[in-house]
Amino acid sequence: MKLYDYVLSPSCYKVRLMAALIGVTLDIRPVDFHPGCEHRGPELMALNPAGSIPILEDGDLVLTESSAMLVYLAAKAAPQWLGNDTAGRAARVQQWLSFSHRLTASLGAARLHEMLLRPGNIAALREQGTAALRELEAGLVEQHVRGQRFLASDRPTIADIACFPYVALAPDGGVSLDPYPAIRLWSRAVRSLEGFIEMPGIHRLHELTPAPVLEVGEA
């Protein structure tokens, strides 16, 4: 499976993270999104006329939406991540997958504006991003009351992976995560998953490893 990837893109990171968590190896094809704008060049526009990345290619299947890529990876390698064992849960997963696009359009656009100088109405983007974070926080509080640590279930699903990156990187766009204790706990739960990988802007949870000690004689 080939992923057209940009290392600073939270949407590309969703796919890398999902693959890492379920042990799928991706063939990474780096795209010079910034400063080269390669995603708008002829080769990638032919593959994805929307001019966006990520793009996932597997045989003659070409996917250009990150949520579809999460579904594909999970269905192929780890169906329990689909979270579709009951009607209610399946719907809840879809609810959060759709919601994740609002995160991209608000927090993601604020981040591009603040970090990579892309145009946008920053005040409006931050306001929409804050509204989305409040909605997520309330949803997580309700899940917690039901005894569930993740968005759609007591175990992680593709819904969590779809929402996590843009939320974790909200401060890159000048939107604080300080007011959201439930998001903090959930984010920590995601970052503690076996096989979790970081992206720039999301640091390693150093507390998960004990303070390492240098053996005598080691440099």
Binding site: E142, D178, A182, H206
Partner: protein, 216 residues
């Protein structure tokens, strides 16, 4: 009079929101703090700034009984003294390298901070259980107006649909309030979810009032 005179307690977070070996940012009467809990379960509050390079300690990590800064890994014991500087592992840090600490009390599911020597323990709310904390972009006056009742001792009783939710309010400046939502400890999950939604509705109403006030 400032909202939290020396020796009085400010409710800064819920105990459940700070598991062992975690750190979170919080507001205290003396400014921003890194609120953290050791592996053995004890809560502590540091001024949210590493004395080395000024990095916010609330971005750091807890290992065992120390809080470390994410920038260079300098770690601090609960008393605030620097224990280790990874760039100079053989050095015992001088006692002068320390962060300011504040008094923390963790009881009844709520974490309280006092600046200065507290005269007594923080209040207890018998029969109530904390549900969640929320930040409201409005002052206490707007929350009181939205609830139609006055806060007493920092606690606002808000009745909706014949049910009551208790809101423990901590001002963060004039225009922002930290609101801890408490429910009857016998509440079942459905009632707790209703209470959370009622608190959301009250926040919307209070923020509308505050916005209208600014517009006027």
């Amino acid at each position: 009079m400032p909202p939290y005179p020396t020796g009085s307690w400010m409710p800064v977070a819920l105990s459940a929101d700070l598991p062992a070996q975690t750190v979170m940012p919080a507001q205290s009467p003396a400014g921003p703090v890194a609120l953290w809990r050791t592996r053995s379960g004890r809560a502590a509050a540091f001024a949210d700034r590493c004395p080395h390079r000024g990095m916010r300690l609330s971005h750091g990590f807890v290992r065992g009984e120390t809080l470390a800064c994410i920038y260079h890994g300098w770690s601090y014991a609960k008393a605030g003294n620097c224990q280790r500087i990874p760039a100079q592992p053989a050095l015992t840090p001088p006692d002068t390298i320390r962060v300011a600490t504040q008094h923390v009390e963790d009881g009844g599911g709520i974490i309280w901070i006092s600046v200065g020597e507290p005269a007594a323990g923080p209040p207890r709310f018998e029969g109530l259980a904390p549900l969640r904390s929320m930040v409201v972009e409005a002052g206490i006056v707007a929350l009181e107006a939205a609830a139609g009742t006055k806060a007493a001792g920092g606690l606002l009783d808000y009745t909706y649909d014949d049910r009551t939710v208790w809101l423990l309010l901590a001002p963060d400046g004039q225009a922002r309030t930290l609101m801890h939502v408490l429910v009857n400890e016998d509440s079942n999950p459905d009632e707790r979810i209703d209470a959370s939604r009622a608190a959301e509705a009250l926040r919307r109403a209070a923020e509308d009032i505050a916005r209208a006030g600014i517009a006027r």
